[in-house]
């Protein structure tokens, strides 16, 4: 089983660690500390400027009535109360949850399956498949959606030609539109997980696998007992990024359905954009942003917890 690798220094008792510095002059320690902070400074400036400060602004504005004309009054919790009474937001919330609940497991499972299949192949073949699956990731979202839109076209689309369902409106039907979005999201999301899984599976300790095989372990046992624990950190990373990407599904909706038909494809992220940029209700949009962030945080925390349990 995987052992958590803890840096040696971290295992040392505090007194011992302190002694490492005791040999250094105070001036040297101060100089090294300053150097360390200077190295951190460029990224820290960006992190504070583009993440921390906007985050604080977002929370503050969520309690305000703030529109195009500027500050219009203190809203208190009104934005939050309105949100939970807003039928479109509720619909968008459930659509988002559906996308996450369907997309995250399928993307993760499919990526793992594909990676397991292509990992033992020759390097050239492996690279070819990695390229093929990664192509939608590097292709612009607009280009991808234009192609899908053409495929879904009810009159001239490839899909209807193949299925013999000419005239069926995949994106214009409330029952099928959300599944079309999920399918496109799936195809654009699997590239990175596959590349990560191929790398992770390639790093699995072969001696452990050979030892297990010598002991008579089946392929399934080798996977669950040897490989799975070792690729768990990668799985956790994939789960978290896929969850965040799914929660923030926006461009596909904007380009393909505008949230329709009848709000069938509205997502929280799209609704936030609508509120902020179409209706210019920045306070309300920020309140939704706060709630979305909390939801993602909860989902991520659950994923950490679950994978920690699995990891023993």
């Amino acid at each position: 089983m995987e052992q958590k690798s803890v840096p040696a220094a971290a295992k040392k008792p505090k007194k011992e660690r302190r002694s490492e510095f005791s040999g250094m002059s105070k001036a040297l320690v101060r100089r090294e500390t300053i150097s360390a902070y200077l190295f951190l400074l460029p990224s820290l400036i960006f992190f504070v400027g583009f993440v921390v400060i906007p985050m604080i602004i977002c929370v503050v504005y969520s309690f305000l009535d703030y529109g195009l004309a500027g500050f219009e009054g203190f809203a208190g919790l009104n934005n939050y109360i309105e949100m939970f009474q807003d039928k479109v937001f509720i619909r968008a919330f459930w659509n988002t949850v559906l996308i996450v609940v369907v997309a995250v497991p399928t993307v993760t499972a499919f990526s793992l399956w594909v990676s397991s299949a292509i990992c033992p192949m020759k390097a050239v073949t492996r690279s070819f498949f990695r390229c093929v699956f990664y192509l939608p990731v590097v292709t612009g979202t607009v280009a991808v959606t234009v192609v899908w839109k053409w495929m879904f076209n009810p009159y001239t689309g490839l899909l209807n030609q193949i299925l013999g369902t000419t005239g069926f409106n995949w994106l214009g039907n409330p029952k099928t539109a959300i599944w079309c979005i999920i399918m496109i999201l799936f195809t654009t999301s699997i590239g990175q997980p596959i590349v990560l899984y191929v790398a992770a599976l390639g790093n699995v300790d072969q001696s452990l696998i050979e030892a297990a095989q010598v002991d008579g372990a089946t392929k399934l046992q080798v996977f669950w007992k040897i490989k799975w624990p070792q690729i768990m950190p990668t799985t956790l990373y994939i789960l978290v990024i896929t969850t965040i990407n799914s929660f923030q599904c926006f461009a596909l909706i904007q380009l393909l359905t505008s949230g329709g038909p009848n709000h069938a494809t509205d997502t929280i992220m799209y609704y936030i954009f609508d509120m902020a940029y179409k209706y210019q209700r920045f306070g309300y949009a920020n309140a939704m942003g706060v709630v979305l962030a909390l939801i993602i945080a909860v989902f991520s925390a659950v994923q950490f917890k679950v994978t920690k349990t699995d990891n023993g």
Binding site: M55, F152, V240, P261, A285, A293, A297
Partner: protein, 449 residues
């Protein structure tokens, strides 16, 4: 939870919050286009920036706009004009970002629904009343009093100085209609349908002829080109979109409900298609491809744009109505100035606008660049003697059908979403027409401030 996990969670939370926060406050946003230095002029003096939406060749034909700026600089060398082109997909987002970030351009070219009802009402625009001299007002009013009224707010403040206008109409595939023996339902001289009943007969004939996948598409996938579906519904039985004072929406009137029911029946009969995945651009493409035999989103500019794509004769015609004359939606485009607090720039911007719109030589040229018609009687027929004369004459016939310019009503932005949602409810989900129309009116009226 250890420190690493806490940091990871904080990062995930932060990324989401920072995305949402882009819309508010004084935070700088990345969606704002950087001014392009396409202008010429003196290195010193006043430098102003203009953003234009795609209004004919004003949007994206840099060389043509540069010619105007060069002509302007020949007369005003101390004012440098930079131009940035917007599109209708992202333009509003870019402007909103610029307003919240406090880096709006000096001049913006668009219509009253944005310049007056949106940004003007929010106090972001400069009062242009001094440009509206008695002479200018009389000149514009001589073409249409609606244009004058559309350019000012309810309190009489002018936020737009108009350049050009048009009426939005529909178009048919003439060859398909001829083959279906459906041209008999259209008056070629007036470019009108004989009656609503004749329009219904025409689409049934086209459907029966089997030449196209669908006679026409009622697009309701978004707000793009929604003036077409509004005009279609309002005209069929003489309904109106708002009351005369522009204080409330009236789309649930008996005439409008009857029109929606008629269209719903036509969709069920297969004589029309309703498509919740199509916006106007998609419908126009379907028309240009020959998939549909008509488009509800046509005007002179669209005809010029799609001329090279079609292999048939696109025949412009007014919307069908049972009234004496149709009431077409109008488009009025002109200039507004954002109030950036710099008097020198504001004055320079006014000078530029005045030159572009009112100069005896440049004014007509500016109108021709838009592909629409002048709002000034003094400019006469700006296409006379040009290669576009015959083509524009086709649309000139419909200019007298310009209906009420109701786009200045409050809650305009909200009602656009409500409108296509209502169409989706009726045509896709099959909801009761009266109920859906009532819901539309209730929600849209609630958005009027």
């Amino acid at each position: 939870m250890n420190l690493k996990k806490a940091v990871a969670l904080a990062l995930a939370t932060g990324m989401t919050l920072s995305l949402a926060a882009c819309g508010g406050g004084d935070a700088k946003t990345s969606g704002t286009p950087a001014p392009a230095a396409s202008g010429s002029g003196a290195a010193t003096g006043t430098e102003i920036t203009m953003w234009t939406y795609p209004i004919g060749k004003w949007g994206g034909t840099e060389a043509k706009v540069d010619e105007i700026i060069a002509a302007f600089n020949a007369e005003y060398p101390d004012i440098k004009v930079n131009v940035e082109f917007l599109d209708y997909t992202n333009g509003d987002t870019q402007v909103t970002s610029a307003i919240t970030a406090g880096n709006t351009p000096d001049i913006i070219m668009e219509g009253p629904e944005r310049l007056v009802s949106n940004w003007g009402a929010a106090g972001k625009m400069v009062d242009l009343s001094d440009l509206w001299t008695e002479e200018a007002t009389a000149d514009i009013a001589a073409v249409s009093e609606s244009v004058v009224n559309a350019c000012k707010s309810n309190d009489g403040t002018y936020y737009e100085y108009p350049l050009c206008m048009t009426t939005h109409c529909m178009a048919i595939n003439k060859e398909v209609f001829e083959a279906a023996d459906a041209m008999q339902y259209i008056n070629d001289e007036t470019r009108t349908w004989n009656s609503t009943e004749d329009f219904l007969k025409a689409i049934a004939a086209v459907k029966a002829s089997g030449q196209v996948a669908t006679p026409g598409i009622i697009y309701c996938g978004g707000q793009g080109g929604d003036q077409g579906t509004r005009a279609l519904v309002n005209n069929l039985y003489g309904g109106t979109y708002t009351n005369a004072d522009h204080t409330e929406y009236t789309a649930n009137s008996a005439e409008n409900v009857k029109a929606l029911q008629t269209l719903s029946e036509q969709v069920k009969a297969g004589n029309l298609t309703a498509d919740a995945s199509f916006q106007a651009a998609d419908e126009l493409q379907a028309f240009a491809n020959g998939t549909a035999a008509m488009t509800f989103c046509w005007n002179a500019s669209n005809q010029a744009q799609y001329a090279s794509q079609v292999s048939f004769t696109p025949y412009a015609v007014a919307f069908p109505t049972d009234q004496e004359t149709p009431a077409l939606c109008g488009g009025i485009w002109g200039f507004g100035i954002f109030d950036n607090g710099d008097e020198a720039k504001i004055e320079a911007a006014k000078t530029f606008i005045k030159f572009v719109c009112d100069d005896a030589e440049q004014g007509p040229e500016s109108v021709r660049l838009s592909g629409f018609f002048p709002v000034r009687a003094s400019q006469g027929d700006v296409y006379a003697g040009t290669e576009d004369e015959a083509r524009m004459a086709e649309f000139q016939v419909m200019m007298p059908y310009l209906g009420d310019y109701y786009n200045v009503i409050g809650g305009w932005t909200e009602q656009r979403t409500n409108w296509f949602n209502m169409l989706q409810q009726i045509f896709v989900s099959g909801e009761d027409v009266q109920t859906a129309a009532d819901n539309f009116v209730e929600a849209s009226n609630a958005a009027i401030k």
